[in-house]
Amino acid sequence: MDRAGIRQLIIDWLDDNHHFGDAEDLITSDDISWIEHGILKSLAFVELILFLEDNCHVALPRAELTRENFDGMNKILRKLEESGARLG
């Protein structure tokens, strides 16, 4: 998986839809919780997941869409990697 490419894809999505150029500054560490830091709310997580499924050629099992799996950059990248995500 092109981890850096997918990370940038996520940053771009955050910038285009929620933070308008501030996403990289808000994500002070790839380990922080996005919910606790106000980076993304649950409804928006669902939209991000749909976007990633479309753009990373992956289907994420709905039962795994939990906060433990997706609340943070590293968690999202890890789950995508396990699921065989790829760009292009």
């Binding site: 839809n17 150029g21 919910i35 606790e36 106000g38 649950s42």
Partner: protein, 651 residues
């Protein structure tokens, strides 16, 4: 071919309030209503007898003469019960047994507060006495920026109990959008909360309140529904507790339930609706029309009783909040919730439904879609065995949503209801006596003579523009600040003279069921939230990078709610840089709300404009939706529509 989704059993029908009311009407009129169609047809007869029978059957408290029922001819001019005086507050406070629970208020941390009817009456009475001591009088405008909490309902009932008019917005709206509404009302009083918890975060509202207060010179005081008065505004500030102390000496009449009664059409609520041009409309709804419309919808169409617990997901700024509060009049226990539906966990709201024993759950297609996509299976997550009915509004409810309810919530009837701010109620509703068909609303509401206009012809069935051809009781009394009623006329009666044109596309079937198909008037519905393009244009007027803009929506099955917000922009020069698009989005988020942020910003060279120089959202929207453009001949630049479609598809 319609697919049957749910059929009521014989016991449900025989014991329903709809059946009891039908028998009452048969006895009172010495007529027979053997079918739903017969009852409905009688309910829209010009005599208005349906409404006088509902007034009598419901036990609503009033004084005066209920004759004539209606005076004045036609939808635009008819006035109901000119000889009746009543109090909305009195009727709501008299709804239940003193020791029964009236309101349960919850937030993201759990149950915050619970009030019995006796406690609610006491709280409303003592606050009203304080407001009266402060100087609140009939006809005053009380505006509010408040959370969906119990004390917001107390304040609303206290203010309207004195004859003042209540208008509220939720605290998530930007100061610009709040002021575009409140400035028009020249309000005397502002009621606020000083903080809000959303998505796990506590947000202070003082800066917002200070900005709003500073721009409302008509204000005499700010009242905070919290322990301490808000700091910052130059206007006098009180807490609700201050007011209770001020009013305690003169509260005896109100504490004894002696509420002043006002004319049937006395202004009760002012709701706001933003369109494609101008400032938001300030829609004045009368006390009697609101009360009877809601009694009809709650007790007859929804079958609510004192045994029910009703939760409808809303904020204080949406008319469904007013609708929810009115359910108190029938003795129904209501639950209000302040916060995110998915905080701290995606199934948070499902657990609330189970914990509070909700029997009737009002939601939206967006929430059902969210549950589906986030993997939440409500029936597995919590015990929803008390739930007997699901209501949905705010967007089109597709068959897949019905299927989701059956598979993952329970074998419930699903009522897709729709109407809106303009009528503070619903044109299409459920009915406990009727079957539910997949993707359809079971019926048109009693008292609404709804038809469709197809190719310029008025028809009882078909697909077309939704119109109402006979007077109805919750038609707005007026628009505030529109003394000649011209804006009111233009909004509903100019397009199809003599009938109310609502701005929705509808399909009415030969079986009497309905499907709402979306807006027909340029107003947008994104994630179940109604967005007026005019607010977007106002917010963007000083963004130098763009010369013109047009807000539309585009269908997308993957979007929450099924549609995405699209902004067409004509750049000031060349293409728009990404940073300029971010600037547009940030501006809309700050000045309006997060709901006003377009998902896609698309550069075009020209926007459709009529020969008389008006821009036509309708033409562009028809183009995006793949419909024939209704007003193509009226456009001076129809070729731009193809360019818009090309730009949209390639974006």
């Amino acid at each position: 071919m319609a697919t049957l989704f749910h059929e009521p059993d014989a016991e449900t029908i025989s014991t329903s309030s709809m059946t009891a009311f039908t028998k009452h009407c048969e006895n009172a009129t010495v007529r027979r209503f053997p079918t739903w169609a017969a009852l409905h047809s009688w309910s829209v007869e010009p005599t208005g007898r349906f409404w006088s029978e509902l007034l009598a059957w419901s036990g609503a408290l009033y004084e005066g003469n209920a004759e004539p029922v209606v005076q004045g001819a036609g939808v635009e001019a008819a006035q109901y019960f000119p000889g009746v005086r009543l109090s909305y507050t009195e009727n709501l406070l008299a709804g239940g047994e003193p020791n029964a629970v009236a309101i349960t208020a919850c937030d993201e941390t759990g149950r915050a507060e619970q009030l019995t009817w006796a406690q609610l009456s006491h709280r409303v009475s003592e606050l009203a006495a304080g407001l009266r001591a402060l100087g609140v009088e009939p006809g005053h405008r009380v505006v509010a920026v408040v959370r969906n909490a119990a004390d917001s309902i107390v304040a609303c009932l206290a203010a309207t109990g004195l004859g003042a008019t209540w208008s509220a917005t939720a605290p998530d709206m930007g100061a610009g959008a709040i002021l575009s509404r409140f400035e028009q009302l020249e309000p005397q009083w502002l009621v606020v909360h000083d903080q809000q918890r959303y998505g796990g975060q506590l947000v202070g509202l003082a800066p917002l309140i200070t900005e709003v207060t500073a721009a409302l010179p008509s204000l005499r005081a700010v009242i905070t529904l919290g322990p301490t008065a808000i700091e910052g505004p130059s206007t006098r500030c009180y807490t609700a507790q201050d007011l209770v102390a001020m009013g305690i000496q003169g509260a005896d009449d109100l504490l004894a339930g002696m509420w002043p009664r006002f004319a049937f059409d006395h202004p009760l609520f002012i709701l706001f609706s933003s369109g494609t041009t101008g400032a938001p409309k300030c829609i004045v709804h009368g006390a009697g029309g609101t009360l009877l419309q809601h009694i009809k919808e709650h007790r007859l169409h929804t079958g609510l009783t004192p045994r029910d617990t009703l939760y409808f997901h809303t904020t204080t700024g949406w008319m469904m909040w007013n609708w929810l509060v009115s359910a108190l009049a029938g003795g129904t226990h209501i639950v209000v919730y302040d916060g995110s539906v998915s905080s701290p966990t995606p199934d948070a709201l499902v657990h609330l439904l189970a914990r509070e024993g909700v029997t009737v759950f009002g939601t939206s297609p967006v929430y059902l879609q969210f549950l589906e996509l986030s993997g939440v299976r409500p029936q597995e997550a919590a015990d929803l065995s008390r739930l007997r009915l699901l209501l949905s509004t705010g967007a089109v409810l597709y068959p897949r949503h019905f299927d989701f309810v059956r598979e993952h919530i329970g074998p419930l009837p699903v009522h897709s209801i729709s109407g809106g701010t303009d009528i503070i109620g619903c044109f299409v509703l459920g009915n406990p006596n009727l079957p539910v068909y997949l993707g359809e609303s079971p019926c048109v509401g009693l008292g609404f003579d709804v038809r469709v206009i197809v190719d310029g012809e008025l028809r009882p069935a078909g697909v077309g523009e939704l119109v109402c051809c006979a007077p109805f009781i919750s038609r707005p009394v007026s628009f505030y600040g529109d003394p000649g009623r011209q804006r009111f006329h233009d909004a509903y009666f100019a397009e199809n003279p003599g009938v109310w044109t609502h701005g929705d596309f509808i399909e009415l079937t030969d079986r009497g069921t309905a499907r709402i198909l979306g807006r027909s008037d340029g107003i947008l519905n994104i994630k179940g939230v109604r967005i007026g393009p005019a607010e977007i244009y106002t917010a963007l007027h000083d963004v130098d990078e763009i010369r013109d803009a047009m807000a539309l929506s585009a269908e997308d099955p993957k979007a929450l709610g099924g549609r995405r917000l699209v902004l067409l922009v004509v750049p000031s020069g060349g293409d728009l840089e990404r940073k300029a698009i971010w600037k547009i989005k940030r501006t809309l988020k700050e000045r309006c709300s997060v709901n006003h942020v377009p998902e896609r910003v698309i550069c075009v060279a020209d926007l459709p404009t009529t020969h008389s120089g008006k821009r036509s959202e309708r033409a562009a929207q028809d183009t995006l939706d793949g419909r024939p453009v209704r007003n193509r001949d009226a456009l001076r630049n129809p070729a731009c529509l193809e360019a818009i479609l090309t730009a949209y598809r390639s974006a």
